[in-house]
Symmetry: C2
C-alpha cells in the first residue's frame, strides 16, 4: 500500500477553567478544533492526554462556545494536578491505548474465574486511571456478592498491593488496627496508637478521610495535629515516637482501592471478597505484620449478625495469613454510636477525654480502645495471653498514653486544640420512655447536613444510650454548626425524622415486661 502524508501532531495550549469533577479526569476541547475533527473524537470519548512525561486517560467534553479558542484545551482540576499543568503548557491528545484487560472483566462477567495475571492486568489499568465509571462498575458488579472464589480474593488482594507503593519498615512487629465498615464516633485509633506506641511496639497508623461518613480518623486527628505527612515525614515521626496517626492519601498505598471504593459505595453492593481485598491490601502495603480487626455487629453496620461477622472474620484471617500478617478479629457491638461526639472536633474531644483519664470520658470508647490495644499487645507478644487489656489499662491510667499522644502530635507538626462550633441546637424527647433504637445512618447524615466533615467543629453530640429512660423534653442530641444556615438546614433534616432516635413509651415497656 502507498504511503500517504503524515497526520499532524495534535497539540493544544492549556487554559485553566477551574472545573472540579472530583476524581473524574476530563479534558475540554472545542468540537471544531483540528484534533477533534481529524481524530473523529466525539464528546464523552476517552482520550490520552500527555504533558511532558506525564500522561493520563481523560473523558472528552466538547466546548461549543467561546470558553476556549480552537487551539486551546482545558482540564478538570484532578487532571490538571495529575499532569502538573500550568497555564499555557502544550498538551498532546490522541486515542488511548486499547484496554486489553477488559477481556478479563468480560470473562468474569460470563462466570469464569480469573487468575493472578488477570487481576494484575485489571488492577494495573485501574490504578493508572484507564477505566472509566462504566468499566469500573462492571468489574465491581462481576465480583460482587459471593462471586469471588478464595484464590480470586487472594489474587485480587496481591494485585492491589502490587500496583501501589509498599512501605518496608525494616523491623517487626509493625502493629496496625482497622475497623470494618465504620461506626459513628468509633474513634479508637488515636488512643490505641498512643497506648501501643507507649508500650514500645511500632504502630504507624495511616488513616482515611471521610468518604460518606461525617468524619474519618484523619479528619478527627487533623483537629489535634497535622496529618498531611508524606512517607519521609511519616518515617521521622515513627522513628522518633514509635507511632503516628497520619492521612494515608499522601502515600500511594493500594491506589486501586481508592478508585474502586467510590464505585462500590455508589452501588452499595455487598461484596465480601472485595472488602477483604480492600482492607488487607491497604494494611499489607502499609507494612503491617500484626493486625487487629474490629468488626462491629448491628442493624445498620456492615455485619448485621454475629454469624456474618464471624464468617467475614474467617475470610480476613485466612487471606491475612497468606500475606504473612498475624491478624486477630474482635467482633464488637455496633448497635449504637461510640462516645458522644459525631464530627471531627467533637470526636477529638472524646479522644482527649479518654487519653487524659477524665472522669467524664465516654466509657464505651475507652473500653473499646483498651480491648483493641490489649489484643495488639498480646498479638505482638509484648503482653502475655490474657494480660493485654490490663497492660493497656495500666499504660492509659498512668498517663503514659497521654504523654505519648502529645509527643506524637508534636512530632507530626504541633498539637492543636479542637475548636467549638458557633451555633448549637438541642433536640429533645417528644415523649417519655426508653431509648429503643438509634439509627446510625440517619444520625451520621444529620451530622453531615450540619456541616461535618468540611466544617471541623460541626456535627452532633449524643446525650443518650440504648435502653436508657428519658423524660419528655430531655435532650437527645445537640446539633453543632458553623453557620445559622447550616443549623437551620440540619433542623429541617432532623425534625421530620423522629426515627433517628426511637423512644418506646413506658407503658409498652411495662406491658412487655409482664409475661
Amino acid at each position: 500500500m502507498p504511503v500517504g502524508p503524515k497526520a499532524t501532531h495534535h497539540a493544544l495550549r492549556l487554559r485553566r477553567l477551574g472545573i472540579d469533577t472530583h476524581q473524574e479526569a476530563v479534558v475540554y476541547m472545542r468540537a471544531d478544533c483540528d484534533v477533534c475533527r481529524a481524530e473523529g473524537l466525539m464528546a464523552q470519548a476517552r482520550v490520552g492526554v500527555s504533558l511532558g512525561r506525564q500522561s493520563i486517560i481523560a473523558t472528552l467534553h466538547h466546548i461549543n462556545g467561546d470558553l476556549l479558542r480552537p487551539d486551546e484545551a482545558g482540564l478538570s482540576e484532578v487532571a490538571w494536578l495529575a499532569l502538573r499543568a500550568h497555564d499555557g503548557d502544550v498538551i498532546s491528545v490522541q486515542h488511548p491505548p486499547t484496554l486489553d484487560s477488559l477481556s478479563h472483566v468480560r470473562s468474569k462477567v460470563y462466570g469464569n474465574s480469573l487468575d493472578n495475571a488477570a487481576f494484575a492486568a485489571i488492577m494495573g489499568d485501574v490504578a493508572a486511571g484507564r477505566y472509566d465509571d462504566v468499566h469500573l462498575a462492571s468489574f465491581v458488579t462481576a465480583c460482587a456478592g459471593a462471586n469471588l472464589r478464595r484464590d480470586e480474593v487472594i489474587g485480587l488482594t496481591k494485585a492491589m498491593i502490587d500496583v501501589g507503593d509498599r512501605i518496608d519498615w525494616g523491623r517487626s512487629p509493625i502493629a496496625d488496627k482497622h475497623c470494618i465498615g465504620g461506626l459513628p464516633g468509633n474513634r479508637t485509633s488515636p488512643i490505641v496508637v498512643a497506648i501501643v506506641a507507649a508500650s514500645g511496639v511500632t504502630i504507624p497508623k495511616t488513616s482515611s478521610r471521610a468518604i460518606t461518613s461525617p468524619s474519618g480518623t484523619a479528619d478527627t486527628m487533623e483537629t489535634l495535629a497535622p496529618v498531611d505527612l508524606d512517607e519521609v515525614a511519616m518515617r521521622k515521626v515513627v522513628d522518633r515516637e514509635g507511632g503516628c496517626v497520619v492521612w494515608g492519601g499522601a502515600v500511594r498505598l493500594s491506589p486501586a482501592d481508592d478508585i474502586l471504593i467510590r464505585v462500590e459505595r455508589a452501588l452499595d453492593l455487598d461484596s465480601e471478597g472485595q472488602l477483604v481485598a480492600s482492607v488487607l491490601s491497604k494494611k499489607a502495603a502499609a507494612g503491617a505484620t500484626h493486625l487487629v480487626l474490629d468488626v462491629p455487629v448491628g442493624p445498620t453496620a456492615k455485619a448485621r449478625t454475629q454469624q456474618a461477622a464471624e464468617g467475614l472474620g474467617e475470610r480476613l484471617l485466612d487471606v491475612a495469613q497468606i500475606l504473612g500478617i498475624a491478624a486477630k478479629i474482635l467482633v464488637t457491638d455496633g448497635a449504637q454510636p461510640v462516645g458522644r461526639g459525631i464530627g471531627p472536633a467533637l470526636e477529638a474531644r472524646d479522644v482527649l477525654a479518654v487519653l487524659r483519664n477524665d472522669l467524664a470520658a465516654p466509657a464505651d470508647l475507652r473500653a473499646r480502645a483498651l480491648r483493641i490495644a490489649g489484643a495488639l499487645l498480646e498479638l505482638t507478644a509484648s503482653a502475655k495471653p490474657g494480660t493485654g487489656e490490663a497492660a493497656a489499662t495500666a499504660i492509659l491510667e498512668c498517663g503514659g498514653a497521654w504523654r505519648k499522644f502529645q509527643a506524637i502530635c508534636e512530632a507530626q507538626g504541633g498539637m492543636r486544640v479542637p475548636g467549638r462550633a458557633r451555633h448549637t441546637h438541642g433536640i429533645t424527647a417528644a415523649s417519655a420512655g426508653w431509648i429503643k433504637s438509634i439509627d446510625n445512618r440517619l444520625l451520621s447524615r444529620a451530622a453531615k447536613v450540619a456541616g461535618a466533615p468540611d466544617d471541623k467543629t460541626a456535627g452532633l453530640e449524643l446525650h443518650v444510650r440504648l435502653g436508657e429512660p428519658v423524660q419528655r423534653g430531655q435532650p437527645l442530641f445537640t446539633l453543632h454548626s458553623e453557620t445559622r444556615g447550616e443549623l437551620a438546614y440540619a433542623l429541617d433534616y432532623v425534625i421530620p425524622r423522629p426515627g433517628i432516635i426511637q423512644i418506646e413509651p413506658l407503658d409498652i415497656v411495662r406491658g412487655n415486661a409482664r409475661p
Copy 2:
C-alpha cells in the same frame, strides 16, 4: 422536637456555557455557592434540577474560578435541551429522590431473578435519566451473558416498551425488518420498504443513526430525503405511500434502549437477553405486527456461527410470539461487507443502483433485499408460500419499487441526490493472490476515520470480494474524504493495517489445493 427556621429555596440563574457532554446531564455550580454549601453537595454528586415543569437528574461539576458567579449555574448541552432552558432562566437544585429500584439491581447482582414489577421500576428510572453510568453498567453487567431467564427477557422487553411511546397504526399487517448486529453496507431497508409498500403492505420503517458504525440506515436515507420526521409527519407519509424510512429518534420508542445501548457498547458485553429485549421492544413500540429479522453470521458479526445465529433466532421468535408479533428469522452470510459503498452517500448510491435496476448494481445487496422483501410478502400473506421472492423480484424489475421509493422520498420532504467526496485515494494490492479475508470492523473504522458518518460523502468503496483473485497493484478499495487532512489521517490508519484485507499468495493456494 422543636421546629427550626426553614432552609432557603435553592435558586440559581442559568448561563449557557456550551459544554457538550454527549448524553450525560451535568450541572455546573460554584463550589462556594449557597446551594452547594447548604446542601453539602460535593463534585460528582447527583442532584435534581428543575426549571418550570421540567426536571432532570444531573451530575454536579464544581466551578472554582470565575466562569460562573455564585448565583449562577450552567448546564451541559443535553441538560439545557432537556430543560428547554434559556439564558437567565432560574433553576432550583435539590438532592435527588432516592433510587429505590437499585435494590432490584442489587438483587439481580446477587443471582436472584427479577419479576415484571422489578423490571418496570428499573426501566422507569432508566428512561427518566435517573441512573448514572455506574448504575447503568451494573445493571447491564448483572444481566449479561446468559444471566436472564426466559421470563426475565419477557419482563425486560415489556418494561422497555411500556416506558416509551407506542404507535398504534389502527390496521394490520404492519411489516417491519431488522438486521441484528449490523454488517457494513447492508443497506437493504430502503429497497425492502419500496418493494413491500409497492405491493400494498404497510411498512413504516423507523431506523437509527450510526452509533459506532460508519453509517446507520437513517444516515444513508438522509442523503436521499429528509428523515427527521415526528410521528404526525411520519403518519402522513405512511397514509399516502404505505411506507417510509425515517429516523426513529424523533419518536420516543423504547427510550431506555438508547440509554442502555451506549453502556453495552462501551463494555462490549455479549448479552442475548438484552439483545432480544432491545430489538423487540423497538419493533413492538413502532407497532410492527409482522417482522423479518436478518441475522448475519461471520467471524466479525454478532453471531459467529450458524448455531449461534439459530439459537438467537429461536429466542427472538419465542419472545416475538408472546408480544403478538409474527416473526421470521433469515440467517445470512456475514463474512464480508454488502454492496460496494461504506458511508452514507456511498451506500445510498448502491441502493439507487439496485432500485433503478442498473446492470452494475451490487448483486449481493440486491439478492439480500429481495430475500427479505420476499419473506415479508409471504409472512403478511400477500404472496403464497414459496412465491415471495419471485413477487418481490417482479416488483423491483418492473420499476414499481423505484417509483414507490421516489414517491416516499417526495412525501418525506423531497428527493435528494447523494453527493460525492472531494478527495479520494486508492489502496492497492501489495501482492498477487486471492482475497482470503476482509475485516469488517477494521474496514468500518477506516471509513469512520475518513469522516463517515458526519461527512455524508466520506467512507470507502470496496472493489473486491472474498475468494476473488487480484493482481499486484490492483485496487482493493478507495478512501473518500471531504478534506485532505481526513484523507491523510485515514491513510495513516489504513497503511499499517494490511490485515484489513488479507491476500493469500497464489502458490499457497495451489499448495493447499493439492491433497
